[in-house]
């Protein structure tokens, strides 16, 4: 009969042994990755363009301050604007499940899951990384608001780690790798 720590040791050894055996056979992974990337750069975002515009060629400190300051000011203004409008997060027009688009492309994900311990959304917008939903008032309705630029997005919910690909309010459902995912089209402008 194998003891618990014995099992751990054997498992550890087995996994290491396996990698030591298989890794040399796959050749130079780094070379292939670099080759595949070619001249590609990581995708650029708005902030990067701002940086390039503002940052001087030498002594970028001032540029950093300006960007941080401008961003903070922008956030403050958005915050004031939203609080003036009476917190749109509590908008009753949002359905019981699914997500609703806003004019500023802030996309709200809503999942009713009273029994759940954790709810997250994964999607191509997050590189299929889990973005947690919150249920701050413990009413069983989990929400997360994610800013998205106009486009087509595939996503699914993870409720206690289990895949739930068919959001009721999605624009369509597609089968990916044999499992459903939801699709939402985020439009530009006000016509969400």
């Amino acid at each position: 009969m194998m003891k618990n720590h014995d099992l751990e040791d054997v498992l550890r050894d087995a996994l290491r042994h396996e990698v030591a055996q298989e890794l040399p056979q796959i050749g130079a992974l780094e070379e292939r990755v670099v080759e595949m990337l070619g001249d590609r750069s990581p995708r650029r975002g708005l902030i990067d363009h701002m940086r390039q515009m503002i940052a001087p060629t030498r002594g970028g400190r001032l540029g950093q301050m300006v960007v941080v300051g401008a961003t903070a000011a922008a956030f403050l203004m958005v915050g004031l604007f939203l609080s003036d409008r009476g917190l749109p997060l509590a908008d009753p027009s949002v359905g019981a499940s699914g997500l609703a688009t806003r004019s500023n492309q802030e996309v709200l994900f809503v999942v009713p899951a009273p029994e759940a311990v954790s709810v997250a959304v994964v999607g191509d917008f997050s590189n299929w990384e889990a973005v947690p939903l919150a249920d701050d008032n413990s009413d069983g309705i989990w929400t997360a608001s994610i800013p998205l630029s106009p486009g087509r997005y595939e996503y699914a919910f993870l409720i206690d780690g289990l895949w739930r690909g068919q959001d009721l309010l999605a624009d369509e459902h597609v089968e990916n790798y044999g499992q459903f995912t939801s699709v939402r089209y985020v439009s530009g402008g006000d016509g969400a």
């Binding site: 087995a14 396996e18 992974l29 990384e129 206690d160 780690g161």
Partner: protein, 229 residues
């Protein structure tokens, strides 16, 4: 949006200690050159320089489109990422595929990485999600060859108890459900704490502990079943 801001703030914070400022990278002679990390004649020389850089510097250079810096990141993490994929998928060809894909996707989406978090956790999360997709695909598109293509113990004549147990545990691991196998691999191959495992798999820390505990019990059962037959 907030990720960009955190990234930006982290930029400001880390630019001091790293010794470089604002999208500039220090070269070996501690001279900064805007835009380009360093001006050297050959690729070989460049990669030699990168070998001596710390991770943040490498990531910053990668953000500037220096794929050679990313190559060094791949070198540093390939054992961990390939091992994770191999442990999860139990198949070398798939593991190779997914590990490569994970590094490519991580590079393309590098701006989504929040510098306040551990880079390894972010990278492992991408790999784990890709593995999950691949397994889901495999379940729905079964191949003719058996999925367990990792050779168990090799030569059957070799019956040293240790290798025998290793072979048994490998076979048992392949039969273990993914939801138990994944946390076991992250724990005992990648040596990660429960919290990081939870972050990577998108499950609470308590669930990780339960799954590791039950996973070990199941693994033991499977090993004993294996030796009966």
């Amino acid at each position: 949006m907030y990720l960009w801001i955190l990234d930006l703030l982290a930029d400001v914070r880390t630019s001091g200690p790293v010794g470089s400022s604002w999208l500039e990278v220090t070269d070996v002679n501690h001279e900064t050159t805007s835009g380009k990390p360093c001006i050297l004649d050959t690729e070989e020389a460049t990669s030699r320089v990168y070998r001596r850089q710390d991770e943040v510097t490498l990531l910053r250079a990668s953000l500037d489109g220096e794929t050679a810096a990313w190559g060094e990141i791949v070198t540093r993490y390939k054992d961990a990422v390939f091992g994770l994929c191999l442990g999860f998928l139990r198949n070398r060809a798939d593991a190779e595929d997914i590990a490569q894909d994970a590094f490519v996707r991580a590079y393309v989406n590098l701006r989504r990485y929040n510098l306040e978090k551990k880079f390894s956790t972010w990278l492992f999360t991408i790999a784990a999600n890709l593995c999950r997709n691949r397994l889901r695909y495999r379940r729905n598109h079964p191949v003719v060859e058996p999925p367990d293509s990792i050779p168990g113990g090799g030569d059957p004549a070799v019956t040293i108890a240790r290798e025998d147990r290793q072979a048994k545990i490998k076979a048992a691991l392949s039969r273990l459900p993914y939801s138990y196998r994944a946390p076991l691999v992250l724990r005992f191959y990648n040596d990660l704490p429960y919290r990081d495992i939870g972050d990577i798999l998108g499950i609470p820390e308590g669930t990780v502990k339960t799954r590791i505990h039950r996973g070990k019990a199941l693994l033991k059962d499977l090993m004993e079943q294996g030796s009966d037959s």
